[in-house]
């Protein structure tokens, strides 16, 4: 099958506005999603599910959230870790207070709490932009982590301030707690990220996405066509923080099992930001690519020397990892701000012309 759109005439605007207007793309994506649901749970090793795929999916969700805010609405945020912490601690409080509530519902309600907090910290965005806004969100990051650390009520007065995911089931299958199997947790994470990625894509291709991008690209022109900056930016902060909140809850409940506030410190805010930059600002697909990249590179660096029969000290390996991330971030910021997603698109355009490049 040749990758081509020739002959596929779009006869309606609905067809032209579809997420994947080219039939081959639709087939490939459907197959990829089906494979993602079937192959790893059946064939993947415990290590791959637990150490690679589950965090990859959770980080992807957070990266989509940050991408909505930074990539689409143009508001730089370093508060991601803080908003994720709100989701995690809210989920912990809700599920320990109301154990009978379905854990998926708990995740979603936790996301709403994070959205509320995000709205609050988004208010300064009306007055400040760019670097200064980043500093303001950094304040949110430090304040929130400090708060969860300081107020023992949030961790139900656990001696170490640690929150632990209690056992919960979905349709009779254990998905959180020590008994939950990796495949079960993986399927929950995958389902959520697929649904939320679709929702994000729908938002960004319609009215809301256009008003976000208008504010991002030229705020004065956006205002004169009727976009109200505060309302628009706050909506971006709210929805973005919702995504980050759900991801934060998942991080503890589906991946770590138990965590302290340290799991949500500034490092994770930067990590998610790197994913968005490397994957591609303003791209949902890029959020996945960026998350995959940041999760896979360290694994590659751990294993590659072994495969070549070299022994590299762990400390050096960590440094190489940081250098690669740093170099790539500079590369993408300067050369290709649309990141891996753009490179992917270019590859597809080449493929569309193949085998007649001119």
């Amino acid at each position: 099958m040749i990758y081509r759109e020739a002959g596929q005439f779009k006869t309606t605007y609905a067809a032209d506005q579809a997420i994947f207007p080219i039939a081959q793309d639709r087939v490939v994506v459907a197959l990829a999603i089906a494979a993602a649901f079937l192959v790893p749970p059946l064939a993947g090793s415990e290590y791959w599910l637990q150490a690679v795929l589950i965090p990859l999916l959770i980080y992807s969700l957070a990266a989509i959230g940050l991408n909505l805010l930074t990539g689409y609405a143009g508001q730089l945020s370093l508060g991601t870790g803080g908003f994720m912490a709100v989701g995690a601690y809210a989920a912990f409080k809700i599920t320990t207070a109301f154990p009978q509530v379905n854990i998926i519902v708990v995740f979603l309600v936790s996301g709403l709490f994070a959205a509320g907090v995000g709205l609050l910290f988004g208010i300064p965005s009306l007055r400040i932009k760019g670097f200064y806004l980043a500093v303001a969100t950094l304040a949110a990051q430090f304040f929130l982590v400090w708060l969860f650390n300081k107020v023992a009520w949030f961790s139900n007065y656990a001696s170490s301030g640690t929150i632990t995911a209690p056992p919960r089931t979905v349709f009779g299958v254990m998905v959180t707690g020590p008994e939950a199997t990796a495949p079960a947790r993986y399927v929950v994470a995958l389902t959520l990220v697929v649904l939320f990625a679709l929702a994000a894509k729908n938002l960004v291709r319609g009215r809301i996405g256009r008003s976000w991008m208008a504010i991002r690209d030229r705020d004065i022109a956006a205002e004169i066509i009727g976009v109200r900056p505060l309302r628009t930016k706050l909506l971006a902060f709210g929805i973005s923080s919702f995504y980050c909140g759900v991801a934060g809850a998942e991080l503890v409940f589906l991946y770590l099992g138990s965590a302290e506030t340290l799991a949500f410190d500034i490092t994770i805010s930067f990590l998610i930001l790197f994913m968005v930059i490397i994957g591609g600002l303003g791209s949902i697909l890029g959020s996945f690519l960026g998350a995959a990249f940041i999760v896979l590179v360290p694994i590659f660096l751990t294993n590659a020397p072994h495969a070549l029969g070299l022994s590299v000290p762990v400390a050096l390996q960590k440094q190489v990892e940081l250098m690669i991330f740093g170099g790539l971030i500079l590369f993408f910021l300067i050369v290709e701000p649309h990141g891996l997603a753009r490179l992917w698109q270019i590859a597809k355009e080449k493929l569309r012309l193949w085998p007649f490049p001119h």
Partner: protein, 262 residues
């Protein structure tokens, strides 16, 4: 075009003044625009033309004087409020959304006509999807009208300057404005592009009945397309009338030749 019958003005600017530090960018400037008219605002560089448009569209607020639109006082509105009244504009230096396609740029012009909740839009079902299609159909008519079918999916930032100006006009038209403000719509264009743009402006005025106020330097163009010409110089309105009268006006000739300025 109007036949000269007196009607209530669509826009009334009454004696507005704007100051930037020591500079009086506008001094008691008045301007009336009748429904259906094409009014040109001309004047040398720095005369205050853009400042006047910025006041009407809510970016600047005059420290004295009033602006009335459709009979009501509108002096202190913000730009989104002005947009809701039915005023659209283009910018002297083209202010497109560079990261978006031409189609999406023009679709933003429909934002005020769109309603909905983000939950329905996230699901992309029912009214959310229907509304998207309706507005797309409207935008396609504008795309046909301005003959930019071929560049629909192109990223706006990659277009040559002349086409960017045309897309910006399309975005303003998508809002179906009652009053259209154009800040130098033909600046930097070649003769052919200018002719196209003139034709589009006249067609908009005649087919949609849109009232237009435009700033333009090219006197030939101004004389051709405008019903009335207002002349600004150093923030003061020095003439206002039919193109022929204005052209004969000694004060205008002085301002353009720069003879009698002290």
């Amino acid at each position: 075009m109007t036949d000269g019958t007196p009607a209530a003005p669509l826009l009334e600017v009454c004696e507005i003044s704007v100051r930037f530090g020591a500079l009086m960018a506008l001094s008691r400037v008045s301007l009336e625009v009748q429904p259906g008219e094409v009014v040109a605002i001309i004047g040398p560089n720095g005369a205050g033309k853009t400042t006047l448009i910025n006041c009407i569209s809510g970016f600047y607020h005059p420290f004295e004087g009033r602006i009335r639109f459709a009979g009501r006082d509108r002096t202190h509105l913000s730009p989104p409020d002005v947009a809701e009244l039915g005023i659209a504009r283009t910018f002297q230096n083209v202010a497109l959304f560079k990261g978006m396609s031409v189609l999406d740029n023009i679709m933003t012009g429909r934002l005020l006509k769109m309603r909905g909740s983000f939950v329905l839009e996230a699901l992309y079902v029912g009214p959310a999807k229907r509304q998207e299609m309706e507005h797309r159909a409207f935008v396609e008519r504008i795309i046909d009208f301005l003959e930019i079918q071929a560049i629909r999916k192109t990223s706006a930032g990659r277009l040559p300057y002349g086409l960017q100006k045309r897309v910006e006009l399309a975005r303003a038209l998508a809002a179906e404005p009652k009053l259209l403000l154009l800040d130098e719509p033909m600046a930097g264009m070649n003769v052919e592009e200018k002719e196209d743009m003139c034709r589009f402006i006249l067609d908009v005025n005649q087919e949609f009945g849109t009232t237009i106020a435009l700033i333009e330097h090219d006197m030939g163009v101004v004389m051709d397309i405008s019903d009335r010409v207002a002349v600004l110089d150093y923030g003061i309105k020095i003439a206002d009338g039919k193109p022929d009268e204005v052209r004969q006006n000694p004060a205008v000739i002085d301002a353009y030749l720069g003879v009698t300025h002290s």
